[in-house]
């Protein structure tokens, strides 16, 4: 994975793991790889992975069990909430860019409808 080294890497790892949860690659209650395995996978310092996982634990998306490792949470409602939050975040990001170009709402909605009909963005 390529990281933007101008931003804390642990935040980018958190976003990546959230993406894997939302897309179902990581399923509820599924065991996730160890810190060491993830560090090697992502090619980053193990402390960085450790920090990302601790933050995800704090957000309740990951839970650790003393002897058996770390798991994705089994709270479907929480995962559903994560989906919605992520969708809003991504949309806001897109809209900020659209506003920078000065496109207006009507043009935007029309274009979105047209593109969806043509199946371009799916």
């Amino acid at each position: 994975m390529d990281f933007d080294t101008n931003l804390p890497i642990y935040l980018q790892i958190m976003t990546e793991i959230k993406r894997l949860i939302i897309t179902g690659t990581y399923k509820p209650s599924q065991k996730i790889p160890s810190v060491r395995e993830l560090a090697i996978d992502y090619g980053v310092n193990p402390n960085t992975v450790q920090r990302a996982l601790s933050e995800l634990e704090r957000e309740g998306l990951v839970a650790s069990e003393r002897t058996s490792g770390r798991f994705i949470c089994d709270d479907i409602e929480r995962i559903q909430k994560l989906r919605v939050t992520m969708m809003k975040e991504k949309t806001d990001q897109f809209l900020r860019e659209i506003h920078e170009y000065g496109f207006d709402e009507e043009e935007l909605m029309e274009t979105i409808r047209e593109r969806l009909q043509n199946g371009k963005s799916c």
């Binding site: 080294t5 101008n6 642990y10 090619g43 310092n45 960085t48």
Partner: protein
């Protein structure tokens, strides 16, 4: 956590020329620390003191609680910035030298890393490319169960693809009980594996921090911050 390396008030001069100036550094197990500075900033002098190659300095330098000497040499694995093999040596000769010299040398592990690098035992070291030589030396150095591993420009002579492989090898083969100190100027390629960085400028420490803290506070990569700090060098 206990410090593995303790450097306090270290001063070193060559003749009248001060090279290291009141250096304080503490390193802990599990850290991968980047020692970053332009040529002539004092990186190699500092490394030579830690490895016991330079002895006439003032200040306190301890590894694992011991002053630099035979005991610390036994727990420091060092990759110098230039190859040190003799022309006649084959890979297997270097391997047996490491077996004889270092009680903590893990022969099986070294063969494993060499296999990944596609290095064979019967090859004469002299005939290897610069990149392969560097990979072989890294395999030797990473195969010691040393508490402190010091790598001086470990990716200096290799192409970007080989750099990736070398960084992966470092991550795969170090354990949380070890500390790795890496001196380099190729920061962009390597900064993702650092936990901490130390900037050294004209023999003084100008920055010593956790890398994620730096990124969080400045929105800058270590590479960018380094370029700013040393722009007029």
């Amino acid at each position: 956590m206990e410090n593995l390396v303790e450097i306090c008030g270290l001063n070193k001069a060559y003749g009248n020329k001060p090279t290291l100036h009141d250096i304080d550094i503490f390193l802990q197990p599990g850290q991968i620390v980047g020692l970053l500075g332009p040529n002539g900033s004092g990186k190699t002098t500092l490394i030579k003191i830690l490895t016991g190659l330079l002895k006439d300095y003032s200040g306190v330098v301890k590894i694992n609680g011991k002053a630099i000497g035979t005991e610390t040499k036994a727990i420091v694995s060092y990759l110098p910035d230039e190859p040190y093999f003799s022309d006649w040596m084959k890979v297997k000769d270097a391997l047996s030298i490491f077996m004889d010299m270092y009680a903590d040398f893990d022969y099986a592990k070294c063969l494993e890393i060499m296999k990944k690098f596609q290095i064979e035992e019967n090859v004469r070291i002299k005939t290897m490319s610069k990149g392969t030589k560097e990979k072989f030396q890294l395999a030797l150095v990473m195969s010691r169960k040393a508490k402190l591993i010091i790598l001086d420009e470990p990716i200096g002579g290799v192409d970007p693809a080989a750099r990736e492989v070398i960084l992966d090898t470092i991550l795969e083969n170090y354990s949380p009980e070890q500390t790795i100190l890496i001196a380099t100027h190729l920061i962009a390629d390597i900064e993702r594996i650092f936990s901490n960085v130390i900037f050294i400028k004209k023999g003084k420490i100008v920055l010593n921090k956790e890398v994620e803290e730096i990124r969080q506070e400045s929105n800058k990569s270590i590479d960018e911050l380094f370029r700013e700090e040393f722009r007029y060098e």
